[in-house]
Symmetry: C2
């Protein structure tokens, strides 16, 4: 395979695709990401193959450097072919590539987690090692608009609230994770690879109904698309509103956090003076944030609602338990949040 | 059929069901609705038959009065049997009943609207006539948790934003519309009717894939339930958060509206002093509200986003067109909203 060396070698449609992807990634990360060191996670499928080539072209244009990480999950017989494909592709692109083989089934059994979860843990452990090794600024993932649609449906099924319902983030600063293809159609990626005569590996496990994600992709999403062929566009718009609202609530929560009072023993008081002038919509989100700040373990939406209802009804003395030994106690001064020393 | 005369005659489970429905309706309407005059819309199916009986029992307890309205759509051969059933049921319950026959197909053809839309228009026209005739405080509708789930999926498909994505309202003060069954399971309603030996009419058109709503109900919802048997509970929780957020944004928008300046000729100025200290999440919702206030015709989310982006980029002089001759012009003082006199 003879791959393009620069964006100028692409036809105008695909040059535009690359530039749109760069623009989206820049907007979301707030920086010119392609001018930096990028670790691209590549399975060898359409999405990540296209991502690797597009990132390489953008980095050449903008002065960045691209590294590749590939993990063999050893869940399919043909997975070693994927590894060979990715190594060949990287050699062709002159991109340093690290591959690692993990026994995902074994890990899943030993740690009593599902196969999907085991794969996820091992994959991100490996990616994080690679990020340290190459000192990269971003872990770049190939999730596209189809993945975003599935994720929104998955979150709807599982009962996510707003704005989490809007789906996975294009940029996660904590994990330095960037998804520049998140509003790009998979068909555009396939079309791009075909136009430059670049092959890819097919993952047959994508068709198995063993995985929730596949059942959503293969059975539910087509029905939604049948009702509205622009379903993907609707979901991209929803995500954009979710990002805007997430930013809004982050700002409001940040203002409120400044008014918390730290008590002895790592306890926090959310004083009545703060809570009484806050709307329940803000209070519920603030409670969630404070409980997260205390340490690991998230509070369920229903538990937060119980706390909110009790506070609204001024149930002084009521104590609410949250995961990992965290509690919230309604007092005359406000709500005291703490974590038990046993945890 | 010999129907119960009071809640005391029900078993404890169904007495509890009736009281929970009353509590939910009171919470949402902010008043003891069952002590007032209620118009119940009854098709004769499970949901509305149960609603009519439950409303009657609640009204007897709380001092209200119940009236019934039934419209024959003439879309199915057996629809006159539904009318006979509803009339018999009302006579049994000692509830005044008004029935009307409409040629929905004819209206759809003449007005060039779809059959569903035609049915909806004629039905609500009829209900509004009945509300005037009986001077009722609420139009009570039988939408239940299953309907809410379908509505959320329908809105997701059609690209609704937040909080509209949370689904139809349990209470619409403008239309005096109340849906006290909105978080009740259809199975509970069926179980209730069976326990009091009350029959109902089956609507065979519920199984036809001709209607979007039926395709969602019969094909998409079962797949979502397969993934999470508590899908309904998740949707009820989402709706509750949507109501909370809707109330939040209504409060914020009301504060902002006080800062608009009325200009000559029915124009409104949203001054920079207001807009610059408002977050984009609030600004977009405020723009939408102002455009609605100018007169009929809603703005698309994408048009609102274009206006927001142009304002953020300070594109002074830019003019944006909205439906029904409405415009927004970015000026140095802020954004001027107006409606052309031709409309």
């Amino acid at each position: 395979m003879k791959l393009p060396l620069s964006i100028q070698e692409l036809n105008s449609e695909h040059a535009r695709l690359c530039l749109d992807i760069e623009k989206f990634g820049n907007l979301k990360s707030g920086t010119n990401f392609a001018s930096q060191k990028l670790l691209i996670a590549v399975s060898g499928g359409i999405d990540s193959t296209a991502l690797l080539i597009i990132s390489t072209l953008l980095a050449r244009k903008s002065g960045g450097r691209v590294f590749c990480a590939h993990m063999d999950h050893n869940l399919r017989e043909e997975s070693c072919q994927d590894r060979e494909f990715v190594e060949k592709l990287c050699s062709n692109l002159d991109v340093p590539c690290v591959c690692k083989s993990e026994d995902v089934s074994d890990y899943a059994v030993n740690k009593s987690v599902g196969l999907e979860e085991a794969g996820r843990i091992l994959r991100y452990n490996f990616f994080n090692e690679c990020m340290k090794k190459f000192d990269t600024s971003f872990l770049v993932l190939a999730h596209h608009l189809g993945d975003l649609c599935e994720d929104v449906v998955m979150r709807l099924i599982r009962g996510a609230g707003w704005p989490a319902l809007g789906g996975m983030d294009a940029y996660d600063p904590g994990r330095k994770l960037l998804r520049p293809l998140l509003t790009t159609n998979k068909l555009q990626l396939e079309d791009f690879l075909k136009s430059i005569d670049c092959p890819w590996q097919d993952d047959k496990s994508n068709f198995s109904d063993k995985w929730t994600r596949n059942r959503i992709r293969n059975h539910i999403i087509p029905l939604l698309h049948n009702e509205n062929p622009s379903f993907g566009t609707s979901i991209a718009r929803l995500k954009s509103q979710a990002d805007q609202d997430q930013n809004y609530w982050n700002c409001e929560i940040a203002k409120s956090l400044k008014k918390l009072e730290q008590l002895d023993g790592g306890e926090w008081l959310a004083p009545c003076s703060l809570l009484n002038k806050s709307h329940p919509a803000l209070r519920c989100r603030l409670f969630k944030k404070i409980i997260e700040m205390l340490g690991k373990g998230h509070a369920l939406a229903d538990s937060i609602t119980l706390l909110e209802n009790a506070y609204s009804a001024r149930k002084t003395g009521a104590v609410f338990q949250f995961p990992a030994g965290k509690t919230a106690t309604i007092t005359r001064k406000g709500i005291v949040f703490k974590i038990s020393q046993r945890y």
